[in-house]
Symmetry: C2
Subunit: 212 residues, 2 copies
DNA sequence: CGGCCGCTCAACCTTTCGATGGATGCCGCT
DNA sequence: AGCGGCATCCATCGAAAGGTTGAGCGGCCG
């Protein structure tokens, strides 16, 4: 028996070096064919619509406007879409959840060894999910602890606090009384299990709930 | 006339994909020879001591203990040492300054196009410095505004504050009185032009003076 | 050597923050 | 319709953090 049909790949990453590295790693492995590589999320969406793509390797953060999670959502929304395997440097909760909600089949970190990468691509092509160990662990943590969703208003307040604003400044910015700002903060502290504004900022940053 | 002697390179990066990518990019370019690639800063220091290395391409953050800047310092401290060209994802002040103080010849970002990379390596081999445009800009900003250098102790205090510790907790951790912690914080506020701990954390984070 | 700077600490007063408690309106569930 | 849960809003009060002043010590440099 000769070669089975190779898995056809589309690479989306804004780092030329990473694209070259993925090509090098995957093309030495048998059974993979890199069809194309692109440097923006927009191009990834366009090319993923072409027939003959089995798996898209997608970075999350690009230099441009569109985020990888948005591109993932756009791709997986179409019928007969290829599988999307997210491959990124970051393992924050916000990134991981956004990607999975967008329909990603797997989530890998860029420090993964080549074999793990190949295994994950094969799994994705077969429709099975593939998570990096670190990512799987983090998701387990999340399951045990479901109280980590801040409301829109709470996130808004905490983001301003993280930017260094005092309660008075936050209240002016959001047209609230200081009492309301404090009330939001108390709820935030409860959810995050902390008891000061700086600790809340640290915890929320660690969990990727706010941008730094 | 035939080929001149190629520039001999050592690659140090904990991402297998990036190492493969650098190899692929540099080996297609004429005049480069990748002698070895390593995945830890410690190995980089060891191998850089061997004769016959012209330029070390060094990542800053490794999975392990040693940081790229420390490895850079260890390498450049020796007589007849190769040039070290830092190649990283991050362009914060703290990273850049640490690398330059450690004796790095150049500082590139990983999203650099292949030609820029090749140019920088040739410049480094010739002993000329090579800075990514973003990095150069950031250094210029720094020059205009010299009041942004925290002392070692101040940085230590502010880092703990950023981690969410109260003054009492910081004082216990560092074996100081609370009065001393406050004193450091006041100096920090003055230097950063702010007037609260959260604002100081925000300003220092924005300037890359502390890790997040 | 005298002055500058980083690091350390104390006592005092002021401002801010956090804790507590309570109100309203929206939404889903029974 | 009635209920509980949640997000949003607000006021009051004691505790913690910040601001001020003042001071001692050791290292570095012109």
């Amino acid at each position: 028996m000769t070669d089975p049909a190779p898995i056809r790949l589309l690479l989306a990453d804004d780092h030329p070096v990473v694209r070259a590295g993925l090509r090098a790693v995957l093309e030495t492995e048998p059974g993979f064919a890199v069809v194309a590589d692109v440097s923006t999320a927009e191009e990834a969406v366009t090319l993923a619509a072409l027939p003959g793509i089995d798996v898209v390797l997608m970075d999350l953060r690009f230099g441009g406007e569109m985020r990888g999670s948005q591109a993932t959502a756009a791709i997986t929304a179409r019928p007969g879409a290829p599988r999307v395997l997210v491959l990124t440097t970051y393992d924050t909760d916000a990134d991981i959840l956004a990607a999975i909600e967008a329909g990603a089949t797997g989530y890998l970190l860029k420090d993964a060894p080549p074999e793990e990468l190949a295994t994950a691509v094969r799994a994705a092509a077969a429709g099975k999910s593939a998570l990096a160990p670190t990512v799987a662990l983090r998701l387990m943590d999340r399951m045990r602890d479901p109280a980590v969703a801040l409301s829109r208003r709470e996130t808004e307040v905490l983001q301003l606090v993280a930017d260094g604003l005092s309660n008075a400044e936050v209240s002016k910015r959001l047209f609230l009384s200081q009492a309301t700002v404090k009330s939001h903060l108390v709820h935030i502290y409860t959810k995050l299990g902390v008891d000061s504004r700086t600790a809340a900022v640290a915890a929320a940053t660690a969990r990727g709930l706010i941008r730094r």
